[in-house]
């Protein structure tokens, strides 16, 4: 039968033109009222009225049997007239009431409003029961109420007046008519409806009650219809038809049994609909069941479907009253959360569904607000309207039990499914089918059955429905919304995207890019995208290909909308988030696209706010260019701040300890990796080096690169670079901290591809970069520039700390020459004074030597401080070319000469004897040389008993040595740094300074060299004999005493005797012999040299000359004064003494201690010998001479200035020449006595050695033997009698 229906259908076009996507099952029980704004729209004003009206969506009515029924109303704004045609099929589709709301200013406008109202009435006249108009007029004119002083009261009066009116404008005879609108304005005569007038600012207190009255009226009409219908005789009922069915039944026998049944069934279904609307749920349920059975038996599928849907609706009204108040408000999250509970609760629900009222609500609803949970206990709850809904129909009758014939929750889905299948048999019922599917979906959402939701929603797509494009889009959107409600974000996103594409699909006359854009943006979550690129990168989830596609569509939409800023932003977003998911070509294409987009509107890192309030967070091209490394640079070394006083490192009792006393701190420091170890200085240009790589295949220009910082105010200098493809490039970013404190370097900003980006380190992924760098900025320090009076060096020094050198000076000096260098310091700072200046010298020579070479007048320097800004300071560095003038000698010889032990007594004896043998006069240089050679030889060989022979043999060798030593005296390079520590201003208070250095390069050229030396005795003086070589290439004039000069040719040497006064033993014995000798000689011997023809002059020092012990004795005045008389005649030196053989001769020796010290343990020895003058001396003269008394006399102590005398007689047995050697020897004391003697205080003498040194050297002096001889020896010529 149905097959015959369909072919006819298209010509009729009875299909509902528009889908009602918002409908849910509960709307079956509502009375439909059209609420319409008329006249020129003044939305803001009327909105209040709309809301007030809409709030009255249900009324309670007590019917004749005393049962309270709750009647619901549904207000809609649009209602296609043809929908009324379906009113027989489903009564809730019929429009029953009309309320218009309008605003007028004058009579003409009021007339217009009335006309509108009337025309609507006519339009829906077929179904309309009643209508009302609500008019808002202008506020009361002040001129109208001249008598009234208080306007406010007037208005209130009006309102009260209105409230007291029962029948609106028709009762014009009301006492307070003067202020009433309806008196000022009159409705046209053809306006037959009831109207309520209000002032614009009126509170409309009575509006609700008036609307309520109106709704009551509607109900009663409906109730009468229902009763009418219920009283109809079964035999007489006419066939109710759906609009498209009209032709189907033409010519059919309406009186057939089948058709009769059909008629009855349909009427029953109709009555059920009315009962449902009238609040008689039990009746409705049973009627639906009956109708369903009846209709099924005649195979009236369409109406079977309708009755099944009705059943579902009636059951839903009872089971899910909360759907009315909060239609599907439950959020997906909550929904998901209840998933687990649902699984547990569902079986219980099924079992108790019928008997227990509380289980009628799904677990979701029980999780809902108080309202719905209160509905579980209907007997106790009468406070909220919702609870009374569920309570009213059955609560008082059945004590909370549900009607027996209600559908169980899980049955509802099945019934809907069946209904939909039935509907689907009719092509023209497609709208009904779609709506049923949507209603079913909403019920399933309420029931928490996502798979059923998906099933119903999927089915909607396959319903063959001829729709306009706009409707189609709407359908997708509603599907999206429903999927979102069950938390199917991906499904929702799919349909949202489809809707977005439909809005702008090709061939569309009016592509709506705004909607498209909105929907695209909405589908972000479904594709696991977020508007914030950082979040996207963080999550790194989703389907890249789809995300890219979506972003591109979004960009297109934004571009078409003319929102260049948005387009640029989204393109930046795309590049930033999907970079890794794109191929190289895509990357460069996108980059070019971005460049084109940003040409229209430059991108910048600020949030964009859309009209609907959506905030698009900034997108930054953090990795374009790709930052490989960021290094915070220290200041240049010479500008680096450092502590003036270096805090002492905490020292335990050990220099090194494995125990870390402050290990906690240290660990903390390690953790704080981003903390920079060095300091930056306020107002000093600082640098950060960034290594960038351009990942694009074309040149990338990055302009306006600056450092991003936090904390201290920091002035960044812009930098522009052009990066070649794929080549890492180093870029230096500069800036100046303006304040002191901690500077937080967070990254840098760029401007590339037309987009400004803030590239923060913390957002750079996949690299080991800290989130930021923290640099401490200290107060500003002054800067100085340094100049010297000397020329700069060509080469730079390689001393340590060479990097702090700011300038250099070079100087060439001959050894012993003096010079000076003036250093000029300028304070470059424009504000800060130079308050602190510390100068010290560092060089590659020893500290002692360095002190001699460089001298600075520290006091004069400090006197010049402080230096005002831009001021100058000058000081002089005195330089003396200190060098070793003595020819270096082999180490072994030094040792031997230092060996003063008793074992070498013989050596000294021989040496001294050697000296003694020397004639006092200095005759020839040759002789002197020989002597020196002898001396050298004796120094080098201890066992030189036959020293003269040895000297002879060694003479050539000695000469060789001296010549071979010469080349060793080479030019000497000395590098020194004059280090300047300076500070000023606040930084000085904080304890910081800067250090710079002047590099001094000294070249020391050899000038004079002492190749060998000796000491010769003289009467009151002694001669220091030096062999001096001129190592320069010029003739040299050597001044060696006050008035003696000698010229030495270049590369020549000569021997100079320098007479030196002897000094007392006390002066010598205070120090070690060698050192003393050196000191003394330096003091008294001045060797000045002058290169003739130039003004180059200098002094040669004798440092390094080591005198042997015997030589030292020569340099000192003897402490003993000899006074010898022979035959009572005092002995004169070199005098001839004659004695006779066999006769006694008296020898008297008188010793006086001239020194300040007592002399102890003296042994006086008298020896006679014969000198053969060939080097042989014969001491065995027992047969030739005899002495009375001992020839060795011990003198235990000789106090100072004390005298001692020894007399003896001598008898010569044979004639000849005899010599007498008279000498006095101090014997070394025992150690114990020595230690006692150390307690003795020696006078300091002229030496500057310290007390400690004195005592040690004195003991040393006591220890050694001294020999004092009476020289020359007495010569006695013995003659025969």
């Amino acid at each position: 039968m149905r097959a015959t229906v369909q072919p006819h259908a298209p010509s009729v076009e009875p299909v509902m033109s528009r889908l009602d996507y918002e409908q849910n099952a509960l709307h079956h029980s509502c009375l439909l009222v059209l609420l319409r704004g008329v006249g020129p729209s003044r939305a803001r004003i009327l909105q209040r009225a709309f809301e007030k009206v809409r709030r009255v969506n249900n009324i309670k009515v007590t019917d004749s049997s005393g049962i309270v029924r709750t009647i619901y109303f549904r207000f809609i704004h649009e209602h296609p007239v043809e929908h009324n045609d379906w009113g027989d099929f489903q009564t809730h589709r019929r429009l029953l009431g009309l309320i218009t709301i309008g605003k007028f200013e004058n009579q003409t406008e009021l007339n217009e409003l009335c006309r509108h109202h009337e025309s609507l009435k006519v339009r829906y006249g077929g179904t309309l029961y009643e209508s009302r108009a609500i008019f808002f007029g202008p506020d009361a004119q002040p001129s109208d109420s001249i008598g009234n002083h208080k306007d406010g009261i007037t208005t209130v009066d009006n309102a009260q007046a209105d409230a007291s009116i029962d029948l609106g404008h028709k009762e014009t005879q009301h006492p307070l008519a003067a202020g009433r609108l309806q008196d000022e304005f009159t409705t046209p005569s053809n306006f037959k409806s009831q109207a309520f007038f209000y002032r614009e600012q009126d509170n409309c207190i009575d509006l609700e009650s008036r609307v309520s009255d109106f709704l009551n009226a509607l109900f009663w009409v409906l109730e009468s219809r229902r009763l009418e219908r219920s009283r109809e005789k079964a035999e007489k009922v006419s066939l109710l038809l759906a609009p498209f069915e009209k032709r189907d039944f033409v010519g059919l026998d309406m009186e057939s049994r089948n058709n009769r049944k059909r008629c009855v069934g349909r009427v029953m279904k109709n009555l059920a609909d009315l009962s449902l609307q009238a609040g008689l749920l039990d009746d409705a349920l049973s009627l639906y069941h009956n109708a369903n059975e009846t209709l099924r038996s005649v195979g009236d599928s369409l109406w079977v479907g309708a009755s099944e849907e009705g059943l579902c609706a009636a059951s839903a009204v009872i089971l899910y009253p909360q759907m009315r108040t909060s239609p599907l408000r439950n959020t997906p999250e909550k929904w998901r959360a209840s998933d687990a509970t649902k699984k547990i609760n569902t079986p219980a629900n099924c079992a108790d569904a019928i008997t227990s009222n509380s289980s009628s609500c799904s677990s979701v609803s029980s999780l809902l607000t108080n309202n719905s949970s209160a509905s579980g206990t209907p007997t106790t709850s009468s406070s909220s309207s919702t609870s009374t809904i569920s309570a009213a129909p059955f609560g008082h009758q059945r004590n909370g039990e549900l009607p027996g014939n209600i559908l169980k929750p899980e049955e509802i889905t099945n019934y809907y499914r069946k209904a939909i299948i039935n509907y689907s048999k009719y092509r023209h019922a497609a709208t009904i089918e779609t709506e049923a599917a949507l209603k079913a979906t909403r019920i399933c959402i309420e029931q928490n059955r996502p798979l059923d939701v998906a099933m119903f929603l999927q089915n909607i797509l396959y319903i063959n429905l001829s729709l306009s494009e706009a409707e189609r889009v709407k359908r997708f959107e509603i599907i999206t919304e429903l999927y979102q409600q069950i938390g199917y974000q991906r499904k929702a996103a799919f349909f949202q995207r489809l809707a977005a594409l439909k809005h702008v699909q090709q061939g569309s006359q009016a592509p709506d890019w705004t909607q498209s854009y909105r929907l695209m943006l909405g589908s972000f979550t479904g594709y696991l995208l977020s508007l914030d690129p950082l979040e996207v990168l963080e999550n790194a989830a989703g389907w890249p290909a789809l995300q890219i596609d979506l972003a591109q569509n979004l960009i297109t939409a934004a571009r078409r909308l003319g929102q260049s800023a948005l387009a640029t932003r989204h393109m930046t977003f795309l590049l930033q988030t999907q970079w890794d998911n794109m191929t190289a070509t895509e990357q460069s294409e996108m980059a070019v696209q971005l460049q084109n987009l940003s040409a229209q509107c430059e991108g910048s890192p600020v949030p964009l706010v859309l009209e609907n309030g959506t905030v698009i967070p900034p997108a930054n091209l953090t990795d374009l260019p790709y930052c490989l490394e960021m290094v915070v640079k220290d200041l240049p070394t010479h500008l680096r701040p450092q502590r003036i006083k270096i805090a002492k490192a905490d020292s335990g009792p050990f220099l090194f300890t494995p125990i870390h006393f402050n290990s906690v701190d240290r660990r903390d420091k390690k953790k704080d990796k981003n903390k920079i170890a060095f300091l930056w200085v306020q107002n000093d240009l600082s640098e950060v080096c960034v290594r960038l790589r351009n990942p694009l295949p074309f040149e990338l220009a990055v302009t306006d690169m600056r450092l991003l910082s936090n904390g201290v105010v920091f002035e960044s200098l812009p930098q522009t670079v052009i990066l070649q493809p794929h080549v890492p490039t180093n870029v230096s970013l500069h800036g100046t901290p303006i304040e002191t404190g901690q500077l937080d370097l967070q990254g840098y900003s760029t401007h590339t591809l037309g987009v400004k980006s803030n590239c923060r380190l913390k957002h750079m992924r996949g690299r080991h970069l800290p989130p930021n760098y923290l640099v401490d900025v200290i107060p500003a320090l002054p800067r100085i520039s340094v100049k010297t009076s000397l020329p700069q060096t060509a080469t730079f020094s390689n001393m340590n700390k060479a990097d702090i050198v700011v300038t250099s000076a070079s100087l060439t000096l001959y050894n012993g020459e003096s010079s000076s260098c003036t250093i000029t310091i300028k304070n470059e700072s424009s504000t800060l004074p130079l308050e602190h200046l510390e100068v010290n010298i560092n060089s590659n020579v020893e500290q002692e030597l360095q002190k001699k070479m460089f001298r600075i007048d520290e006091q004069a320097l400090q006197a010049q401080l402080p230096v005002a800004p831009q001021g100058m300071l000058e000081f002089v560095v005195y330089i003396y070319a200190e060098a070793d003038f003595v020819c270096p000698m082999p180490a072994g010889s030094l040792n031997s000469s230092a060996d003063y032990g008793p074992s070498s007594m013989s050596h000294y004896a021989s040496v001294s004897s050697g000296h003694a043998s020397l004639p006092a006069g200095i005759s020839s240089p040759q002789h002197r040389r020989q002597d020196s050679m002898q001396h050298a030889a004796s120094r080098s060989t201890i066992s030189a008993a036959q020293h003269s022979l040895a000297a002879l043999s060694l003479q050539p060798g000695g000469a060789d040595t001296s010549s071979s030593l010469r080349p060793q005296q080479l030019t000497q390079h000395i590098e020194a740094q004059l280090r300047l520590k300076y500070s000023g201003g606040e930084a000085l208070v904080a304890g910081y300074c800067r250090q710079c250095a002047v590099s001094l390069n000294l070249e020391l050229i050899p000038s004079v060299q002492i190749t060998s030396w000796d000491v010769l005795p003289a009467e009151m003086q002694f001669y220091l004999v030096l062999d001096i070589s001129n190592l320069t290439a010029q003739e040299m004039s050597l001044n060696y005493t006050d008035n003696k000069n000698i010229l030495i040719e270049a590369k020549e040497s000569c021997r100079v005797p320098i007479p030196v006064d002897r000094c007392s033993l006390e002066q010598v014995c205070a120090a070690r012999a060698a050192e003393v000798a050196e000191n003394l000689e330096r003091e008294r011997v001045k060797i000045n040299w002058l290169l003739t023809g130039t003004d180059i002059q200098g002094v040669a020092s004798l440092r390094g000359i080591v005198l042997s012990h015997g030589m030292v004795d020569l340099t000192t005045v003897s402490p003993l004064e000899w006074s010898i008389s022979f035959q009572d005649a005092p002995v004169q030196p070199h005098s001839e003494i004659v004695a006779t053989v066999g006769q006694r001769a008296q020898l008297s020796i008188n010793l006086t201690n001239q020194s300040l010290q007592p002399l102890k343990n003296l042994v006086l020895t008298i020896k006679f010998y014969q000198d053969y003058l060939n080097g042989m001396e014969n001491y065995n003269l027992e047969t030739r001479v005899a002495i009375s008394g001992p020839n060795r006399i011990t003198i235990p102590v000789l106090e100072k200035h004390a005298q001692t005398q020894h007399n003896c007689s001598v008898i010569f047995f044979t004639p000849g020449r005899f010599k007498t050697s008279i000498e006095c020897v101090t014997k070394p004391q025992s150690h114990q006595r020595n230690s006692i003697s150390t307690g003795r205080s020696y006078p300091a003498g002229s030496t500057t050695t310290s007390q400690l040194e004195t005592t040690s050297t004195s003991s040393f002096d006591e220890q050694q033997a001294h020999t004092w001889k009476f020289i020359p020896p007495i010569e006695v010529t013995v003659v025969e009698q």
Binding site: F494, A541, G542, L546
Partner: protein, 139 residues
């Protein structure tokens, strides 16, 4: 003419392997088609996630459709989702294909150098999927 779009989806909805099998000529295949398949597969993930808890089977059968396209799914023990978007019914073939691919996938994931949830780049895997695709889907 039949086309199959096979994709393995990781835990973060990220595709880790994609492959298309088609009897049609290459010219006939459009990029759009592939794109749409991707979208359909992605949208079906919600249903896959719903179904996977409702059954003990790894084979989720045909769980979704859009216009002429069906979506069949398979879920591994480690919750990796295999999805095929196809335009003609071939339950048996798809079932076999899934089983074979599961086998292949397990073997591949045993590789110590393969990190789960990351794209599969293996010639062997490619070859195997080719063989099974031809054997079960296109035959």
């Amino acid at each position: 003419m039949s086309t199959y779009y096979f994709v393995i989806v990781g835990h973060n909805d990220n595709p880790i392997y994609e492959r298309e099998f088609s009897t049609a000529n290459k010219e006939q295949r459009k990029e759009d088609q592939r794109h749409l398949s991707q979208f359909i597969a992605h949208a079906a993930l919600d249903l896959v996630d719903e179904h996977k808890w409702k059954t003990a089977n790894m084979q989720l059968k045909s769980i979704d459709r859009f216009n002429q396209w069906f979506v069949s799914a398979f879920i591994t023990a480690s919750q990796i989702r295999f999805i095929i978007v196809h335009d003609n019914k071939n339950d048996e073939g798809i079932k076999n294909f899934f089983n074979e691919m599961y086998d292949t996938y397990i073997k591949h994931s045993m590789n110590a150098f393969y990190k789960i949830n990351t794209p599969i780049k293996s010639v062997m895997f490619e070859k195997k999927s080719d063989i099974f695709g031809r054997k079960y889907l296109l035959s």
